[in-house]
Assembly symmetry: C2
Homo-oligomer: 272 residues x 2
């Protein structure tokens, strides 16, 4: 089990299957502006959400091993699919370093927010079929009813910039219609790409349904945990995240802008 | 450079980034029913078409190394992206074994079929940005005008079974409108997934445009080449292909049916 000395100045390691996890980087930056962030996006093997549990667990272990080289004080699993299917592998690989995943953070926030006790979850096929959100929610409150729907086309539609497109609306209406018929009052965006489509999704779900963004939930949870352990970085400087990817396709710059709303900084290419 | 003894009874190795290459397996089976086929689909790292040239070349080399263990008499690159960006790597890795790719075969057939000398190409982002189809076509006839369009949403739409969906029609109309304004008379389906959407595409392009399916083109070329070298398998039995994949997701069985039109046989899982 790897061990290293950690201090408040140690970085927070964040990883995702690709660049969707940048929504988590953005949320953590907003919430903890002094923290040093190290992000890895496995762009050479993205997506994870359509792959098998065996492969997702292997990739999760390798991604964690990469981040551990930077001696982080915490690991945030920005990938819902890894959070759902391989959080134990990440925890084993990172030893005593605390690990938090978007899934549990999103589940907790959803439980706090629902009034009717009826929660909807949307995510990739792997996340939804794992039933991990329902388990995490019912572990907190077994009386809550959870309704899930895999929305596999949302990732490519978001990445292609089909944000306000009529085709996206048709597909979103189809994906969401079943959940809407269940009288949910809370809907968890269980995939880091989905916040890009939040406007479209909200226009279909309407004002009666509260949207839970797992990225914001996990950022709040990271602050809570670091604070409780007196591990918040005391610095006041706004730190620039260290970005690593396993592939740098032509489209990366454009996607960075879409997710972060700023121009792409230097990015390190690593081989997996 | 790997060397091995080949005979008419040696298998034909076929690989693709995922399962789209099964359209090539199907076409080769129809055209050469006695040949032993070994297929590898890199489902753990699919898709290639949105990744960089460096990564595509690395994957292409590794895929070829895997097939070479089976001592094939020919390698067919069923992946348009690898055909466009890494055919030289495949050739280097396979030594003196003949290598044919869907791209050149599709380009040749398109040149034979066009009357107006105006050809359209659709494919993944990596294939289209490489300009490889235009180069291959203009190497045969420099007077032909080539018009290209990347259609990145076609692969996920096909895999999700959105074959006759109104959203797919909206997206297809948008993708194809520019090509249609160029008065092409021939359109190359430059991605192995696109034959699944052929009906939809034809309903938009209309009867005046000839559709070229690269899978059929490469199967015809394989027969031509094996025949010229007296390497056709003399057997008369219909051989069952040996299928290998690097990941076996839940959805695989359903996709196999979509691509092959039959139930999935045994599949070997290999680690890449």
């Amino acid at each position: 089990m790897p061990q290293h000395k950690i201090s408040p100045d140690s970085p927070i390691g964040i990883f995702d299957s690709g660049i969707g996890g940048l929504t988590v980087v953005k949320a953590v930056q907003a919430c903890l502006p002094s923290e040093r962030l190290i992000y890895f996006g496995d762009t050479a093997r993205v997506p994870y959400g359509s792959k098998s549990q065996v492969t997702i667990r292997k990739y999760g272990r390798e991604d964690t091993e990469l981040l551990m080289k930077y001696q982080p004080k915490m690991i945030i699993v920005a990938c819902n699919t890894v959070s759902a299917l391989a959080l134990d592998v990440v925890q084993q690989t990172s030893g005593e370093i605390p690990v938090i995943g978007v899934l549990k953070a999103g589940a907790e926030l959803a439980v706090n927010q629902t009034r009717s006790g009826r929660i909807g979850i949307i995510g990739t096929r792997a996340t939804i079929y794992s039933n991990a959100y329902a388990c995490a929610i019912n572990e907190i409150d077994r009386n809550i009813e959870v309704f899930s729907k895999a929305c596999p086309l949302f990732v490519p539609l978001a990445e292609e910039g089909f944000i306000d497109h009529a085709a996206t609306r048709l597909i979103a209406e189809e994906y969401l219609s079943e959940l809407l018929s269940k009288q949910i009052d809370t809907l968890v965006l269980g995939c880091t790409h989905y916040p890009i489509l939040r406007g479209m999704i909200e226009s279909i779900t309407g004002p009666g349904i509260r949207i839970i963004d797992s990225a914001e939930a996990v950022a709040g949870k990271a602050r809570e945990l670091l604070s409780a352990e007196s591990m918040l970085n005391p610095g006041t400087k706004h730190a620039v995240p260290h970005l690593m990817v396993s592939d740098l396709p032509q489209k990366f710059r454009e996607l960075y802008r879409l997710f972060m709303g700023t121009e792409m900084p230097d990015v390190e290419l690593v081989e997996m």
